[in-house]
């Protein structure tokens, strides 16, 4: 199975993707994750103003059969959430990299270096598949 892993993004071992633009991190789940989950029917993410911390859960996505926690790649404050995707979670299946979940104002820029590159994430997917 080939999975899309855009080069311009950073990744986590919990299968989230991160787009870094200045001090804003846009976060979603990867193509690999949506494919493994199957039909996504529910997504719940925190409201604007909520603090999230790296490695801690910040929300859930649910497929018909299972519940999966979302883990924050970075520490910071939620400055936007994608209510469109909460309302129509199947958009994650349709395009995992368009269907972002939250935008976070990064508090500790040092954490960015801890994220996986596209190459490292690709390797990780191949060994964990």
């Amino acid at each position: 199975m080939s999975t899309q892993i855009p080069k311009n993004l950073k990744y986590t071992k919990e299968h989230e993707w991160v787009l870094i633009e200045g001090d804003t991190a846009t976060i979603g789940i990867t193509d690999f994750a949506q494919s493994a989950l199957g039909d996504i029917v529910f997504a719940e993410v925190p409201d604007v103003g909520t603090s999230v911390s790296a490695g801690a859960t910040f929300g859930v996505v649910e497929s018909i059969k299972s519940v999966s926690d979302l883990y924050a790649p970075l520490t910071g404050e939620v400055i936007a959430k994608n209510t469109d995707v909460e309302g129509s979670p199947e958009k994650i299946n349709a395009g995992a990299y368009e269907a972002w979940l939250i935008k976070v104002k990064v508090k500790n820029p040092g954490e960015i270096a801890q994220l996986l590159t596209a190459e490292a994430y690709d390797q990780f997917c191949q060994t964990s598949a």
Binding site: G38, D39, V41, F42, V60, E62, S63, I64, K65, V67
Partner: protein, 356 residues
């Protein structure tokens, strides 16, 4: 070491996701659970359920023997009928739920859950006693397909032209591709459908034929959604070793009018501890084990099965609720990740299947 059905390689070739279910490597989904559910509700889908168990009771006392073991009435059911029934202990708790097929006056087929094959067979065999019956476990000799959906009969007739007219919940023993098969108009989806028991090669040939005919292969995930939408119980969820049929809304399967059966005394006048309540959730998806509360936040039960209904696009659950808490005005709330979601009780199944 997990077991594999005779069709395992075909599932792998179809790129199914395989999971361990009751010690078997089974296809959980092929393409998408949604597509598979809609295929069965609107057209026709096929499930490999060869992991399920097949027992035969044969001989002069075959009917009397099974009638003594199960709570439903096998003796009085017409020949050629299929009968759903719990199998209970003396104290009324449920060992398994199964389907009894009256093939002939001295030949009964019993189909049981895969997870309970050994438990059931040991129990049933131990009760043969003085019954003049040969009781055998032939699970390894049979493969089983469930062909389900409104187009099932038409599909089947192209491969088995001699198929007689069959009522819902009836069974027929005949031939397909010149080989012996047992065909029953039963299923676990609420739709019209047939279950086909046969030798491994015959069933493999039928599977290939169904694939060529455009039947959708369906996995265990869609099977679970389909059965839950029509509120069929599943052993290990709504039923288990600790509850009686009367705790799980199966009073209709316990026939106190029968002269004798195992569990009769315990179930006679038994006051149910639980009621099974069907709950619709406005937002959120209920899951097995989630607590069910009343308006004052008291826990009054828990979800035994929950999912997103594909047809309704809404969360649905079966919940085991303390019997005395199930009152006319009771309000139900499901605890989903520490948040309470209002749930509406309903008397009818979430989805009305189209079975005959």
């Amino acid at each position: 070491m997990t077991q594999r059905t005779s069709l395992y390689q075909k599932h792998v070739d179809l790129k199914a996701k395989i999971v361990d279910f009751a010690g078997w490597d089974m296809p959980v989904q092929y393409t998408s659970v949604k597509d598979e559910v809609f295929a069965v509700r609107q057209k026709v889908g096929v499930f490999d359920v060869s992991h399920m168990g097949e027992f035969f009771a044969e001989g002069p006392d075959a009917i009397a023997f099974i009638d003594h073991l199960v709570t439903n009435n096998i003796q009085e059911a017409p020949m050629g009928k299929a009968i759903y029934s719990p199998l209970c202990r003396e104290n009324g708790t449920v060992i398994d739920d199964l389907i009894v097929y009256k093939l002939a006056p001295q030949r009964i087929l019993i189909c049981v859950n895969a997870s309970n094959i050994d438990k059931d067979f040991t129990w049933m065999k131990a009760h043969v006693g003085n019954f003049n019956v040969k009781f055998t476990n032939q699970s390894n000799d049979y493969s089983l397909l469930a062909l389900q959906g409104p187009l099932t009969e038409a599909t089947l007739r192209t491969f088995i032209p001699q198929l007689p007219a069959m009522e819902y919940y009836s069974v027929w023993e005949g031939e397909c591709f010149g080989k012996h098969i047992i065909l029953a108009r039963t299923g676990y989806t609420g739709e019209d459908g047939f279950e086909i028991f046969g030798g491994h090669e015959t069933v493999a040939q039928l599977w290939d034929s169904f694939m060529k005919a455009g039947v959708t292969p369906c996995g265990l995930a869609s099977r679970d959604v389909l059965r839950l939408e029509v509120c069929y119980p599943l052993y290990g969820h709504e039923l288990n070793d600790e509850v009686t049929p009367l705790d799980a809304a199966l009073g209709w399967t316990v026939k106190q009018g029968k002269p004798a059966f195992i569990g009769k005394e315990a179930l006679n006048g038994y006051k149910p501890r639980f009621k099974l309540v069907k709950l619709l959730v406005e937002k959120g998806i209920p899951r097995e084990g989630y607590a069910v509360c009343d308006a004052e936040d008291n826990v009054i039960g828990s979800v035994t099965s929950g999912t997103m209904s594909v047809v309704l696009n809404q969360g649905v659950a079966l919940a085991r609720i303390e019997a005395d808490k199930v009152t006319a005005g009771q309000k139900y709330f499901i605890d989903i990740r520490q948040k309470k979601y209002a749930a509406t009780p309903t008397s009818k199944a979430f989805v009305q299947g189209g079975h005959k």
